[in-house]
Amino acid sequence: MSTEPIKSIKDLPLDENLFPGTPACAGCGGLLTLRHCLKMLGDKVVIVNAAGCFTLLSIYPFTPFKSSWLYTAMACAPAGAQGVRDALDILIEKGKLNPGDDLKVLVLTGDGAAYDMGLSSTSGAIYRNLDFYYICYDNEAYGNTGFQQSGATPFASRTKTTPIGKDFPKKDLFEIWNSHKPPYLATISPAYPVDLANKFKKAEQYKGPKLFISLTPCPPGWSTDPSHTFKLAKLAVDTGIWALKESVSGEVKHTFVPGKFKPVEEYLKEQGRFSHLFKPERKEETLGKIQEMVNEYWKQYGVLL
C-alpha cells in the first residue's frame, strides 16, 4: 500500500473482502464500516470476534469473509487475539511460517463487549502493546439481544432497558483507551470512508494496538429507515455528536471539524429512540442539555459552535 493519503472516494480500493448475503439487518451501519475497514486491511487477516451482532456473520458452514475467523466469547476477544498473534510470531521465529504468509490479527466487537464486559481484556491487550487491530462497531446499545442499554448508550436514548431514556451520558471509551497511550487510536464513521481509509493507512505504520471506534446506525434499534443509515452516520459527524479524531501515542487531533455545525436536533429527530423528546410535547430542557454537552465537548478543543 502506498503511503500517499487517499484524496477522494474514487481512490478507495476496489477489492471486496466482505461479501453480500449476510444475515445482518438491512441498513446495518456496522457492516458498512466493516466493509470499508476490510478493504484497507486486505484478506490476510484473522478476525477474532466477541459476542455481538457480527457473531452471526459466520454461520456454519458459510462465511462472508475472504479471511479467517475465530469466535471467542464476549469478554475476551483481545485475549484470543493475543494467543493468535503470539502463536504466529512463534511460528515465524521458529521458521515454521513464512513471514510473507503472516496474518493481521483483528478484533471485531460491538459496544457491549468493548465498553463493558470486554474492557478488562482490552485494557490488558493495550497495556501489553499487542500488535493488533481492534474495531468496535458502536450502535450504542446491546443490539444483538434486541437493543438494551450498554455503556455506550447516550444520554436520553430510549432502549429496552431504559424505556424513558437513559439519565446519564455515554462512557468515553476513546479517553479510557487513550489513557493507555496506544500507538494509534481513532474514531471513524462509515459516512466518511476517505477519512476512515486514511486512518487505516496511517495505523499500518505502527506496531502495537491500533484501535478504531465507529458510530454505526442500527435501523431496528434506532427505529430508523434502513435507507437513512448513511445520512444519519453523516449527521452524527456534522452535528458534532461524533467527533472524528485520532490519537498517536496519546496526543489527540481532530481529523475533521465541520465548517458549520448543524443543530443536534437534526440528528435526534430522525430517530425513534429519541422520539420521546419531540412528542407528545418537545422536551426543551433535555434537547438543550444534549446540545450543551456537544458544545462543551468542542469548547475544550477551542471550537465554538
Binding site: L70, C76, A77, G83, D86, D89, D101, L103
Partner: protein, 406 residues
C-alpha cells in the same frame, strides 16, 4: 535420566519443559504459582525456548491459550480453584474448538468460605466441559502425566484439551524423589508438534468456532466431542503401553491396589489415595480383606474398568473430596451410575472427607472399613457420611463461641 527431589509443582514444570512447549499464557494463583514461576525463570535464563505472557485474568488466559493452540503451536497453562472458575466459560469454548491444549489444575477448595486447602470441587465442576482429566497421586505421576497428556490431546482421533490435576499443598508443595527423563527419550515418546488438522494459514482461510443455527447442528458437534472423549480411553491405554516401554512406569485408567482378593474396597482419587493405601495395609494386618481402587482418568470415565474391578466385591466405599450441595458426593453418583445395570454389584457407601484439605485420619479409615463390613448385606444405607472427628467437632464449637455467632 536423573533423579531429583521435586515438589509436585516443579515436577509439573519439568513435564512442561520436557514437552518442548512453545507458549505459556499465565496468571498466578495459590497454590499453582510455583509452576509458572519456575517456567518463567527457565524461559528467562534460556533453558526453555518458549514465550511467556502474563495475562489479565484466567478468562483471558484460557482464551489466549486456546487461540494459540488453534493457530498451531504447543501451549501450556495452569490454574487452581477460583482461577479455574473465573476461566470456566472458556473451557467449554476451547474444548469446542477441538484444540489440544494441556492445562494443569492444582486443586483447592472453592469460596466461600475462602481457603487454600485442597478438595476437588474445582476440577470436578469442569467434568462436563469436554476437557479430559488425568488425576495424579504423586510427584512422579505429575511429570509423567503432562507428557502423556500432550500425546493424548494431540492424537488426531481425540483432539480434545486435557487437564492434569494435582492436590494443592499435599502434592504441590511436597518434595519427593522424581526421575527426570532425558530429552531424547521424551522426544521418542512425544515428537514435536506438527498439527495435521486445520490451523490458521494465510493460504487457506478458515472459520473456527462459528455459530450454528439450530439444535440439530449443535447436537451433532457436541456429540462428536463425546465420541472423541470415549475414543480417548483406548488411545490413552495405547499411550500408557508406549509410556511403559519408553520409561518403565506403568499407568492405566484406574489403579488397583491389593484388589484381587479384596472384599471391602475404597474408591479414591489423587494424593489422599496414599493415605487410603496405608489404611488398606493396616486393615489387612487386622485380617480385613481390604483393597483400593484409584481413579486416575475421570474423563472419559472408565466405566468398564471400574465395573470389572468391583463387580464382585462385598462392599465399596467411595471417598469423595467434594460435595455436590444438595446431592452429596459426585464420584459416588458416578460410580453408582455405572453399576446400575449390573446384576451382581457391591454394596456402595458414600463418604465425604478431606474437604478444604481436612485430614483423613487412621481412625476415620477404621470407621470407613467398619461401615463397609457392617453395611455389606444391609438393606438400607445412610448416605453420605461426613468424615468429622469428635476433636474437630469440639474445636469448631470453641471457634463458634469466640465468634459469638451460631
Amino acid at each position: 535420566m536423573k533423579k531429583e527431589m521435586l515438589t509436585g509443582n516443579t515436577a509439573a514444570a519439568w513435564g512442561v519443559r520436557l514437552a518442548e512447549i512453545d507458549y505459556i499464557p499465565a496468571f498466578p494463583i495459590t497454590p499453582q504459582t510455583e509452576i509458572i514461576e519456575t517456567l518463567s525463570g527457565w524461559i528467562s535464563e534460556g533453558a526453555m525456548d518458549a514465550r511467556f505472557v502474563t495475562m489479565d485474568s484466567e478468562h483471558s488466559m484460557v482464551a489466549a491459550a486456546g487461540a494459540a493452540s488453534a493457530t498451531g503451536v504447543r501451549v501450556f497453562t495452569a490454574t487452581s480453584s477460583q482461577g479455574l472458575m473465573y476461566g470456566f466459560e472458556m473451557l467449554y469454548t476451547v474444548a469446542g474448538w477441538r484444540v489440544p491444549l494441556v492445562m494443569i489444575n492444582v486443586s483447592r477448595g472453592l469460596s466461600s468460605p475462602i481457603t487454600l486447602g485442597p478438595d476437588h470441587n474445582d476440577i470436578l465442576a469442569a467434568r462436563d466441559s469436554g476437557f479430559l482429566q488425568i488425576h495424579c497421586e504423586n510427584c512422579q505421576e505429575v511429570l509423567d502425566s503432562v507428557l502423556m497428556a500432550y500425546r493424548l490431546a494431540e492424537d488426531e482421533r481425540v483432539l480434545l484439551p486435557v487437564f492434569v490435576n494435582l492436590d494443592g499443598f499435599y502434592l504441590s508443595f511436597t518434595r519427593e524423589p522424581v526421575e527426570i527423563p532425558d530429552m531424547d527419550e521424551v522426544r521418542r515418546f512425544l515428537p514435536s508438534y506438527k498439527p495435521e488438522h486445520a490451523f490458521f494459514n494465510a493460504n487457506r482461510p478458515m472459520a473456527q468456532g462459528v455459530a450454528v443455527l439450530g439444535g440439530a447442528y449443535y447436537s451433532y458437534f457436541k456429540y462428536q466431542m463425546h465420541l472423541a472423549s470415549q475414543k480417548a480411553l483406548d488411545v490413552y491405554k495405547e499411550i500408557c503401553r508406549d509410556f511403559e516401554k519408553e520409561f518403565g512406569r506403568k499407568y492405566d485408567a484406574i489403579e488397583e491396589y491389593r484388589l484381587e482378593d479384596a472384599e471391602y474396597v475404597l474408591i479414591m482419587t489423587n494424593s489422599f489415595s496414599t493415605m487410603g493405601k496405608a489404611a488398606v495395609n493396616r486393615a489387612r494386618d487386622q485380617g480385613i480383606k481390604a483393597g483400593l481402587l484409584r481413579l486416575r482418568l475421570l474423563r472419559p470415565f472408565p466405566e468398564e474398568d471400574i465395573r470389572n474391578a468391583i463387580r464382585e466385591k462385598k462392599s465399596v466405599g467411595v471417598i469423595d473430596q467434594n460435595i455436590s450441595v444438595g446431592k452429596g458426593g459426585i464420584l459416588y453418583s458416578e460410580v453408582a451410575g455405572c453399576l446400575y445395570n449390573e446384576k451382581q454389584r457391591p454394596f456402595l457407601i458414600s463418604f465425604i472427607g478431606g474437604l478444604g484439605g481436612k485430614d483423613i485420619s487412621p481412625q476415620e479409615f477404621e470407621f470407613i472399613f467398619g461401615q463397609l463390613i457392617k453395611g455389606a448385606g444391609a438393606e438400607k444405607v445412610e448416605s453420605p457420611h461426613l468424615l468429622y472427628t469428635q476433636e474437630e467437632w469440639e474445636e469448631m464449637q470453641k471457634l463458634k463461641e469466640i465468634a459469638g455467632k451460631e
